[in-house]
């Protein structure tokens, strides 16, 4: 068979669309809302293999909530959810602007992905713990972490709870179930499993949630998380936020152009579900299901949130260099905020006027907090963290060599 063999060649997956091309999502299969049934929380993962290839959706085109996954939230809760998403979006806009004005070094927004973290947050219980990436500030907003504190950190001013040590947006709040963000991709996924194992070891009832981006699923720590979660049936929900892009790299490079990210759970016997990440109701319902499953001792769930990063990767990124400018607009799952708003209007629980009013209120609130934060200081301007602080907290007790270095530094 050797003689007639043709030369091999390298397969390098390419996105459907680059700058200049017309976006085409016609290959992207979107099951209609309400189609996917809701299994029992103790279902055998093997029985729901299909769910890794479908998409759980609740809101249909008409803005109605349909199917077995509907009704996990009251109308009041939905309005709260809308407000969270609006707040996050407004917050992002203001902070992106602040970065452009040099008030902070760096910012990362959530545009188009607000539903994922905002809805998930509401499915957890006090005491549960998230291990987030840098694109889940909605977890904090939806748990009423003070925006002022977030801003103080973004500005690295004297009120920054992390004393200027950590980058802007790399928040930490144990109290709000939000593990310290690392900046290194993937590392936190397996830590979430460890936290969940600790809860099980301690006979506790708390659960953990891990977070990772589509691109970062390629990191080896993803595997470590899956292996440990599977072996010890850890009470953890493992979330993949598939926003289609990893900086300039489309999701096909991490996914290998086959199957889905959710399907990676199957080899580990982990229940795996894809959900419409731009559908607040669907995210919440699936999150609730997975949290319950974990808390009741039925083990881990892998959730792929299908969404789209409508903005740049960060303030250092200009996506027009690698993808079509119209791709975001062509994204078939729409805008999460707009969809929830329309749903509430459709069911008569909201109106354009109320929306405008809420927008104005939120805007005023954010701007006023921003003023307060800026009055304290912005990056390297005004009241800033003490240089002394950089020597603190390396260890609980400062060892002699650090005391000496601090003295040498003159602080």
């Amino acid at each position: 068979m050797t003689s007639d063999i043709r030369p091999l060649s390298l397969n390098v997956p390419e996105p459907g669309c680059r700058p200049g091309d017309t976006p085409d999502f016609s290959d992207f299969e979107i099951p209609r809302a309400g189609l996917v049934p809701r299994p029992a929380v103790n279902v055998d993962p093997d029985e729901i293999r299909d769910m890794a290839f479908s998409i759980v959706r609740v809101l249909n085109k008409k803005g109605e909530a349909v199917g077995e996954w509907a009704d996990s939230l009251t109308n009041d809760e939905l309005r709260v959810g809308l407000r969270h998403m609006m707040t996050l979006r407004t917050f992002d806009i203001r902070m992106m602007n602040a970065q452009r004005q040099g008030k902070t070094s760096f910012y990362m927004q959530h545009l188009g992905e607000e539903a994922v973290s905002c809805a998930f947050s509401r499915a957890m219980q006090p005491g549960d713990m998230n291990f987030p990436t840098y694109r889940q500030a909605g977890l904090l907003i939806a748990r009423d972490y003070p925006m002022l504190t977030m801003m103080n950190q973004i500005y690295s001013n004297a009120e920054d709870p992390l004393h200027g040590r950590q980058l802007p947006i790399m928040y930490s709040s144990k109290e709000h179930g939000f593990f310290s963000i690392s900046g290194n991709l993937g590392t936190q996924f397996v830590q979430a499993v460890g936290w969940a194992m600790a809860s099980a070891i301690s006979g506790d009832t708390k659960i953990a949630a891990g977070w990772i981006g589509d691109g970062s699923t390629a990191e080896s720590d993803f595997h470590a998380a899956m292996v440990f979660a599977s072996t010890y049936k850890a009470p953890v929900v493992l979330n993949i936020v598939n926003n289609q892009w990893a900086i300039s790299t489309f999701q096909g490079i991490a996914r290998g152009g086959v199957g889905t990210f959710a399907a990676r759970g199957h080899g580990f016997g982990i229940a795996s579900i894809r959900v419409d990440g731009n559908d607040y109701l669907a995210v919440h319902a699936v999150a609730k299901w997975a949290c319950e499953r974990a808390r009741l001792g039925f083990g881990p769930t892998l959730i792929e949130h299908v969404t789209y990063r409508a903005g740049g990767h960060s303030t250092s990124d200009d996506p027009s260099a690698y993808r079509s400018k119209s791709e975001a607009a062509a994204w078939p799952l729409g805008d999460p905020l707009e969809r929830l708003k329309q749903h509430l209007i459709t069911i008569g629980e909201w109106s354009e006027e109320r929306h405008k009013q809420a927008e104005a209120e939120i805007h005023d609130e954010v701007v006023s907090l921003q003023k307060t934060a800026e009055a304290v200081g912005t990056l390297a301007v005004g009241k800033t963290p003490s240089p002394r602080d950089m020597f603190e907290g390396v260890y609980e007790t400062m060892p002699p060599h650090l005391v000496k270095q601090r003295q040498e530094a003159g602080f």
């Binding site: 992390l162 950590q166 460890g194 070891i201 301690s202 907290g393 002699p400």
Partner: protein, 337 residues
């Protein structure tokens, strides 16, 4: 008090800590049912149950990564890496996560974990069962680094490491597990059972981190050593008759610089011994600290006696290992200079 090997002392430290504090959990590859390939955790699963001592998948990053999560929850994981040579897959979790968690979160989350690992050569383990990676940890702010040289210290330091609120790298010189070893590989093996440092106190007595021990008082030259090299230095003293003062550093980070400086100021000479590769080894840091603090007291150039800058070879083990011959020559040289 009981006469113990280092393995038994380490096992006992686990036992004491697990009995005293429910938050202490112990795991790693082959650590549970079997009790570890060196048997340092034997019997713990039976005594404390499978959720406090268990086997793990072979994934060092996962072992450390889950430990960080557990520590964030409030447990105190004491984990084993089967050989120090296999810690590198976990290096990112250690360096980027465990070491920096307290600092970056302003103590909102902390990481009191102990990462134990058999270290060093002398067992014909070749390049993958012989390494001494201490310098790869001392360079990382936020880690503590410990290396005991005897059963008594092994127990006391391990208890201190478990109590410590920060991540501790705990390096166990495997060639010392069963007895002191002075580099004379052709002589019969001695056992801890007859050694004063094999006499291990009962209970929960700590040996505090950050304190060196003077193993031999001397006037001519200060020897800075740790782990197996302490016994090599002792043999070199016997063989050369040089009146060396031998410091067993025990903790490399934080370092007992005070003890080092006091000794070097007294002797005016310094020989530094470690088994790891020379370039950028911990000896470089020691030598730098001494020159910074004792420049005007030094009467001769300090000398490093170390493993060579090669992978740890299998057949040439004893040519690689910094034995008493080489240390003795350094003594003579430093006295002549």
């Amino acid at each position: 008090m009981a006469q113990m090997t280092m393995i038994e002392a380490i096992r006992e430290a686990h036992d004491v800590a697990m009995a005293a504090d429910k938050r202490v959990v112990v795991y790693g590859e082959d650590v549970g049912y079997f009790g570890g390939v060196f048997r340092c955790t034997a019997g713990l699963q039976e005594k404390f149950g499978k959720s406090r001592c268990f086997d793990t998948p072979i994934n060092e990053a996962g072992i450390v990564g889950t430990a960080i999560g557990m520590a964030a929850y409030g447990l105190k994981p004491v984990i084993e890496i089967q050989f120090a040579d296999y810690v590198y897959p976990a290096y990112d979790q250690i360096v980027s996560e465990a070491a920096r968690l307290r600092h970056r979160s302003n103590a909102d989350f902390t990481c009191p974990i102990v990462i134990r690992m058999p270290t060093g050569g002398g067992i014909f383990g070749g390049q993958t069962h012989s390494q001494s990676p201490e310098a790869l940890f001392t360079h990382v702010s936020g880690l503590k680094v410990v290396m005991p040289s005897n059963p008594k210290d092994a127990k006391g330091l391990l208890l201190a490491a478990i109590e410590d609120p920060d991540p501790v790298i705990f390096l166990e010189p495997k060639r010392l597990y069963n007895g002191p070893f002075d580099g004379h590989h052709d002589r019969p093996i001695v056992s801890w059972k007859k050694h004063p440092l094999g006499d291990v106190p009962d209970g929960d007595d700590l040996v505090p981190l950050g304190k060196a021990a003077v193993r031999r008082v001397g006037a001519d030259v200060t020897v800075l050593a740790y782990g197996t090299m302490v016994y090599v230095a002792e043999a070199a003293v016997q063989e050369t008759g040089v009146d060396a003062e031998i410091l067993d550093l025990r903790t490399l980070m934080p370092l007992d610089l005070e003890a080092i400086v006091a000794s070097v100021k007294k002797t005016g000479r310094c020989v530094i011994v470690h088994e790891a590769t020379r370039t950028s080894g911990f000896g470089a840091e020691l030598m730098s600290l001494v020159q910074e603090a004792c420049f005007y007291h030094l009467e001769a150039p300090m000398i490093r006696v170390t493993g060579w800058d090669t992978p740890y070879p299998h057949a040439q083990e004893w040519e690689y290992f910094p034995g008493p011959g080489r240390v003795g020559e350094a003594f003579k040289k430093v006295m002549e200079d």
